[in-house]
């Protein structure tokens, strides 16, 4: 039997974030603090892709991304596919869709927003405006660019 050749080494258990648009892999690695898990992370940049021409890929051993993390990823790379790996097999494949609403993931960047000091989960409405993803805080009703919310 012909052995499949991987550009990036296969992992036994964990998560593979595949089909990341080429060039965004490093930003996702940094913004999602994927190195902070302390697990082995392997990354491939500019790998050939049948659908995208080229793509980035990130493999994290021993870590499974929850729905909140997957939602957050959808804001940055909606084309990405999150695969859960168990014993070298893909046991779950999540195609990401941009959520209408995102809760308990980001802090509101508005320092005067009441949600920062009250026992509530953060809540944003996701909007597309002029091709840009914007997040509107449910509480203070201020609208932010995707990047400013991440940095909060």
């Amino acid at each position: 039997m012909e052995k499949k050749q991987y550009s990036v080494e296969a992992i036994e258990n964990g998560t593979v974030i595949d089909h990341i648009p080429a060039g965004k892999g490093l930003a996702i690695l940094r913004q999602f603090k994927l190195l902070h898990y302390g697990s082995a992370v392997t990354v491939g940049f500019n790998l050939p892709s049948k659908t995208q021409g080229s793509k980035d890929i990130i493999k994290i051993s021993g870590v499974t991304l929850d729905d909140a993390a997957a939602n957050r990823l959808a804001l940055f790379a909606p084309e990405a596919v999150v695969n859960t790996i168990d014993r070298f097999q893909v046991v779950d494949k999540r195609h990401l869709t941009m959520p209408d609403e995102i809760r308990a993931v980001f802090r509101c960047p508005n320092s005067n927003c009441a949600s920062l000091s009250e026992p509530v989960q953060s809540r944003f409405y996701v909007k597309k405006q002029h091709g840009q993803t914007r997040l509107k805080c449910h509480y203070c009703e201020k609208t932010f660019s995707r990047d400013s919310v991440t940095e909060a």
Binding site: N112, A114, S117, E118, P119, V120, C137, Y139, E141
Partner: protein, 306 residues
């Protein structure tokens, strides 16, 4: 019309449907024409002002008392448990267990929505930080309708601090539903924020920028003045714009007879006293309408039928 506001919170203009706004407007005008002193009989209202706002507080408390209700509360958060570190969520739980409705003013953006999430009684937002002040918007709508006989297809000019002015933002968000056209006059650094002009674009409302107040006064049905605060500029910068956004009676020559000048008050020098005597001045009547707008809010959230 069924009461679409019964037991509802009034937090933000953007939450209110056009039908709810029209119901509020009709009720305010109805209460102005035929005052009622029974609509809050037996009701106790919490007037929770975590920051001082004498005009708004007195207007709300007048509305409660004119409707036959009673008020408890405070006029400064410094004297409350918030000062001891109590969360707004806990304060809301407690005060809503004492009262039939809460009127709240708070310095934090979004505070009214948080109170509403933890309150067991309706919450009326009397201003939350730089965010919303729906009763001001309602009294503006009442006044515009009263002076123009309609809300649709009006030409609305807004002048002054359009960047930080919560009143002009909310008024745009409300009036866009009736297909109004807008003109903005402001120092470039205090221009209308993009998120508001984008909302107007999405609603198909035309908007433009005028360089002079005279031009706006001749074009408009409503000229909505706001104050340019000196502290937002350095001295040199302020000298360049000083007076340019102040209205006087001579500037109203050539205005349409139906033009009315509005202002959320207090004014400083952005409307010269010589405008007061012209038929265009309507800002004091506008302030009076605040009581009727607030009476409409309170009576609708607390009565199945008004």
């Amino acid at each position: 019309m069924a009461n679409l506001l019964y037991r509802q919170n009034v937090i933000s203009v953007s939450d209110l449907t056009t039908e709810q706004l029209e119901l509020l407007l009709d009720t305010a005008l109805k209460l102005k024409a035929s005052p009622r002193d029974d609509l809050l009989a037996g009701k106790l209202i919490g007037s929770c002002f975590f920051e001082p706002s004498t005009r708004t507080r007195l207007s709300f408390e007048t509305a409660v008392q004119r409707l036959g209700g009673k008020v408890i509360g405070f006029s400064d958060g410094a004297n409350t448990s918030a000062k001891k570190g109590e969360t707004l969520a806990d304060t809301a739980r407690i005060i809503s267990s004492y009262t039939d409705a809460i009127i709240q003013r708070h310095p934090k953006d979004g505070a009214a929505r948080i109170t509403a999430e933890f309150s067991s009684v309706p919450v009326i937002n009397a201003g939350d930080g730089t965010n919303q002040h729906p009763s001001q918007t309602l009294l503006d709508l009442v006044t515009i309708y009263e002076t123009q006989g309609r809300l649709n297809q009006l030409k609305i000019a807004m002048c002054g601090d359009l960047k930080y002015g919560r009143t002009v933002h909310s008024l745009c968000q409300a009036l866009k539903r009736w297909g109004c056209e807008f003109a903005f006059v402001s120092p470039p650094s205090l221009a209308m924020p993009e998120y508001i002009t984008e909302e107007l674009d999405e609603a198909g409302c035309r908007h433009q920028v005028f360089s002079s107040l005279e031009e706006a006064a001749q074009w408009a049905d409503i000229l909505y003045m706001t104050r340019v605060q000196r502290e937002r500029f350095d001295e040199q910068e302020f000298a360049k714009i000083q007076g340019k956004f102040n209205l006087n009676a001579a500037m109203l020559a050539g205005a349409k007879p139906n033009l009315r000048v509005l202002h959320p008050l207090p004014r400083v020098d952005e409307i010269h006293p010589d405008v007061d005597a012209t038929p265009y001045a309507y800002y004091f009547e506008q302030a009076t309408n605040g009581v009727y707008a607030r009476m409409a809010m309170l009576s609708l959230v607390l009565n199945e039928e008004v």
